[in-house]
């Protein structure tokens, strides 16, 4: 059970889809087992190489990482499970084994980030996953994928390097890389300035990786041009993991000992979150390409997660963590449905998708369900996190109503852009002269519907993720106070 990350780490040479899928499923199963263990109340710690922390490199799973681990492995498993038909179409046969191994490397990197309790290790895993995702995105069939991925590479590397600088500064002052240890020793540091600088570097670096507005410019292009299944995988978890590290650092490491850090963090994060939510939603409202529309909406959704975190309250945190989970479900489902559509529609501009609903009724129905979840219609997962977020905003004091207004306005914007998709597939007449597409392959469709149904399930019975989110919030807020 403790070897969860190891299984994934040792598997990157899976030769083809089957191997990759089995590995991903196994890691998902282990993540589930870990979650159950964590729900029982025991955080899991594993000291690599037998050295006890803080000297050795420790891996640890608590409620927060368990939830994110579930998201990451779940997204990995689901997208790999469904990937085959779509990948066959987009990637040449002989390149596929390499492609899948890059995929597994990316998954391993993300899992590594989540379970790692060591700041430098996080950097290494972050770069492993980033490098793998550059490769995955560059695998896109369109040549425009290449400049997109180049931009991502440059910005991603800058982000990672910033993070490295920050970690270096902290190490200089505290002499440790273990997160928990860091938190303890920061208190002894006399001169706080380097730590402050480090906090700045780390926050900005991770914000770059997480595509927090206005550092998001790499994201829409990269997601749009990536192979469809890669988009599913990355959209569901890649930026979330960066946010996870960001929240972890800011709450666990800095919050407790750095004077006024919570005010600084809130002042930094909240305006960006609000701007991100509003601007990205507005852009999405006028976007003509389906994938790019959804990618832009991701930037807005990241804003929600950051907004929740920036309240620096328990309610806000649990809303934020919950939204990590729910948005992964909704966006993953949406991109899966897009992959289904793309199986027959080469051109994903909205005005080319007319009449899709008549030809691919199941796909489009799944698209609508996940779209509702993204909007936050009650009965879907998205509603739960919106509810939590609004409650948290109301608790947060005199500005609360303004924030509620922001959330609500952006929900309405979400209605607009989701509805543009619905109208395109349901009401626009089919474009003349295209072939008659039938329903997507069963394999793809089943997974899509599984995710869509999960959206509804977790909208009605959000017990498990909610419990994890709440204990996360207790954990993090406990450190902060």
């Amino acid at each position: 059970m403790l070897s969860a990350p190891l299984v994934v780490l040792l598997q990157p040479r899976g030769l083809a889809w089957a191997g990759a899928t089995v590995a991903a499923l196994a890691s998902f199963a282990i993540a589930l087992a870990l979650t159950i263990a964590v729900l029982d109340g025991q955080p899991q710690v594993y000291a690599m190489g037998g050295w006890p922390a803080p000297y050795g490199i420790a891996l640890g799973v608590d409620a927060f990482s368990a939830l994110v681990l579930l998201v990451v492995t779940g997204a990995g498993a689901a997208s790999l499970l469904a990937a085959r038909p779509s990948i066959d179409q987009q990637i040449e046969q002989e390149r596929q084994p390499l492609f899948y191994s890059a995929w597994l490397l990316g998954l391993a990197g993300l899992v590594g980030i989540v379970v790692s309790a060591d700041a430098f290790n996080i950097f290494v895993f972050m770069e492993i996953s980033s490098l793998a995702s550059y490769i995955l995105i560059a695998g896109g069939p369109d040549r425009r994928a290449l400049p997109a991925v180049f931009k991502y590479l440059i910005m991603g590397t800058i982000g990672a390097t910033f993070y490295l600088i920050g970690v270096g500064l902290i190490y200089m002052m505290t002499g440790t890389l273990n997160l928990a240890d860091m938190e303890a020793r920061i208190g002894d540091v006399v001169d706080m300035n380097p730590i402050l600088v480090a906090a700045g570097f780390i926050t900005i670096g991770l914000a770059l990786k997480a595509a927090v507005f206005p550092l998001h410019v790499w994201l829409p292009n990269a997601y749009t041009q990536a192979p469809h299944m890669v988009t599913v995988f990355l959209a569901a978890c890649a930026t979330k993991v960066a946010l996870y590290v960001l929240i972890r650092f800011d709450y666990l490491v800095f919050q407790a000992k750095l004077a006024d850090h919570e005010v600084q963090f809130a002042l930094f994060a909240m305006p960006l979150a609000i701007l991100g939510i509003l601007v990205a939603s507005a852009v999405a409202m006028f976007e003509g390409n389906l994938k790019r529309l959804l990618a832009t909406s991701s930037v807005a959704q990241i804003g929600y997660i950051l907004l929740g975190a920036s309240f620096v309250s328990q309610a806000g945190l649990s809303a934020s963590v919950m939204h990590i989970f729910n948005h992964a479900l909704a966006k993953g489902g949406l991109f899966l449905a897009v992959a289904c559509l793309a199986y027959h529609y080469r051109d994903l501009r909205l005005d080319q998708l007319g009449g899709a609903a008549a030809r691919m009724p199941w796909t489009c129905a799944a698209l609508v369900v996940c779209g509702f979840s993204l909007i936050g219609i009650p009965g879907t997962a998205g509603f739960i996190s919106k509810w939590l977020l609004i409650s948290a905003a109301l608790e947060s004091g005199p500005w609360g109503w303004g924030l509620v207004a922001v959330i609500l306005v952006s929900s309405l914007m979400a209605v607009v852009y989701i509805w543009r998709i619905v109208e395109a597939v349901y009401f626009r007449a089919a474009v003349e002269g295209d072939s008659q597409p039938a329903e997507a392959p069963l394999q793809l469709l089943l997974v899509t519907w599984l995710v869509a149904l999960l959206n509804i399930f977790f909208g009605l019975f959000p017990g498990v993720p909610l419990e994890l989110a709440n204990s996360t919030a207790t954990l993090l807020a406990g450190f902060a106070s």
């Binding site: 009650p378 409650s391 306005v409 309405l412 959000p462 017990g463």
Partner: protein, 488 residues
């Protein structure tokens, strides 16, 4: 079947029906329509089976799941909801019969989608009617909006889609933008959202905030079409007529006024609200809507748009009656939901029948139509008289109660509004009747007869119901009196 299971069955039945209809639609239209009728009949049996329990004072309740601590999906049947559910299920079957005549008569496209969404909308309506707390109410309220959207946009041409967009836009933005914050606010203030006799907010909220919260609720529930959030209703007139009948008489708008009444009675509590000066504006807003909508209706030349504005006015009757905050008026509000449903569905059925038979949609085309379609126009006349409130029709009964409540509260604004709007109703309905019965048809008009039998049958039944309700309204009034008993 215990009452608790009956609640669940009432929810699941139309849902299962929708699925069966979708599947049957692939086999044959006849099978599909049989399934629709069977489902509707079964639903009546289940829902009306709950009536004796309610009459005896039982309040069956059932809890499905706890979404978050304090936030549950729960159902609880009480007299208001029971009335609404009984009404909706009863009219569904009549509407289905009518739909069959109308849809076949017009050879509409996508009929399977139509019947499926209809059944879905009914399921959502049952959920609204039986909701045991605000959260559940909201859940089904949104489902109702979404499931009726394909019905409104049924035709699918650009103009229709644009109107449907207004429909969805207004309803969703008010519900997400105002209703949802109001609900969350209530949960935060009261710690619960359960519908409790006497209200849950008493003593927990102070004065200006009460009026604000009430405003969030009233305008958030866009389905009640209190001005200025009434725009969606005329826009929705692009829908096929059976949909308009469902929207305007049975499900959507009634869900709106029903929700407002329920919130006033069970969340605020009428005594609590009566003592809060800041809640007084609601009455004036409703009165304004009644008069303004009636004036607009006076200027309409399209039959369905006229009926739409008349609906807006009639809905505000219910809201105003609820806002009078006296027991008799609350009973009047509940009864008016029923009375207006019978009358308005008759009017829409008649308008649809005229369209099927002759493709006429404008008022001036109705000249002399009474001779060609005597049954339809007789029913139309009964519906119109009920709108005005002339005995012996259903409209008279409810107006009587509302007026009585207004006098009890010494509320002269309400009294005056009712009198003025009655005059206005007469002013826009009576010329139509005159035109239809006493004017001569223009020479050279195309020949046509009555609408298809199914349609005529349905509208005659609803017209008879309108008349019958005047005579046999005892059980309904007794049931609804339970709502206010105990805190007069």
């Amino acid at each position: 079947m215990t009452p608790e299971t009956a609640i669940l069955v009432a929810l699941i039945l139309p849902l299962g029906g929708a699925l069966a209809i979708a599947l049957a639609g692939r086999v044959s239209p006849n099978l599909r329509e049989t399934v629709t009728l069977v489902t509707a009949a079964a639903l009546i049996w289940v829902v009306w089976g709950l009536l004796p329990t309610l009459m005896a004072g039982g309040r069956p309740a059932v809890e499905i799941s706890q979404v978050m601590p304090g936030l549950t999906i729960a159902f609880k049947v009480e007299p208001l909801g029971m009335l609404f559910a009984a009404l909706a299920s009863g009219l569904w079957i009549i509407n289905s019969v009518y739909s069959i005549g109308y849809m076949r008569g017009n050879k509409e496209q996508n009929q399977t989608r139509f019947y499926t969404c209809f059944a879905l909308a009914l399921s959502a309506t049952m959920g609204v009617a039986f909701a045991g707390n605000l959260f559940t109410l909201f859940l089904f309220y949104e489902l109702l909006t979404l499931s009726t959207y394909p019905l409104v946009s049924h035709k699918g041409d650009p103009a229709t889609v644009r109107s449907a967009r207004v429909y969805l836009g207004v309803l969703l933005s008010t519900s997400i933008g105002l209703f949802l914050p109001a609900i969350i606010w209530t949960y935060m203030v009261a710690g619960t959202g359960d519908f409790t006799p006497g209200g849950i907010l008493a003593g927990k909220l102070d004065d200006p905030a009460i009026g604000l919260l009430l405003g969030l609720f009233v305008f958030g529930i866009g389905k009640a079409a209190v001005m200025p959030v009434h725009r969606w209703l005329p826009a929705a007139m692009v829908a096929p007529t059976p949909v308009s009948a469902l929207l305007h008489a049975v499900a959507v708008v009634k869900a709106g006024v029903f929700a407002i009444t329920k919130i006033i009675v069970y969340v605020f509590g009428i005594d609590f609200l009566f003592d809060a000066p800041s809640s007084g504006w609601l009455l004036y807003m409703a009165a304004f809507t009644i008069i303004a909508a009636s004036l607009i209706a006076l200027r309409q030349t399209n039959i369905k748009r006229l009926l739409a504005y008349s609906t807006i006015a009639q809905l505000s009757y219910v809201v105003m009656a609820a806002a009078i905050l006296k027991p008799l008026a609350e009973v009047g509000a509940a009864i008016h939901i029923v009375a207006h449903a019978f009358g308005k569905i008759t009017l829409f059925f008649a308008a649809g029948a005229i369209y099927v038979a002759s493709k006429k949609t404008e008022l001036h085309q109705l000249r002399g139509i009474g001779r060609r379609m005597p049954w339809t126009m007789a029913a139309f006349s009964i519906g119109a008289l009920s709108m005005i409130g002339v005995p012996p029709t259903a409209g008279f009964v409810s107006k009587w109660y509302i007026l009585a409540g207004a006098f009890e509260a010494d509320n002269l604004v309400a009294v005056f509004t009712i009198i003025a709007s009655t005059a206005l109703n007469a002013a826009y309905f009576l010329p139509i009747l005159y035109l239809a019965w006493f004017e001569r048809e223009n020479s050279g008009a195309p020949e046509h007869g009555e609408a298809p039998l199914a349609a005529v049958l349905a509208l005659c039944v609803t017209a008879l119901l309108t008349l019958a309700f005047f005579l046999f309204n005892g059980p309904v009034i007794e049931l609804e009196s339970q709502v206010v008993r105990g805190f007069t």
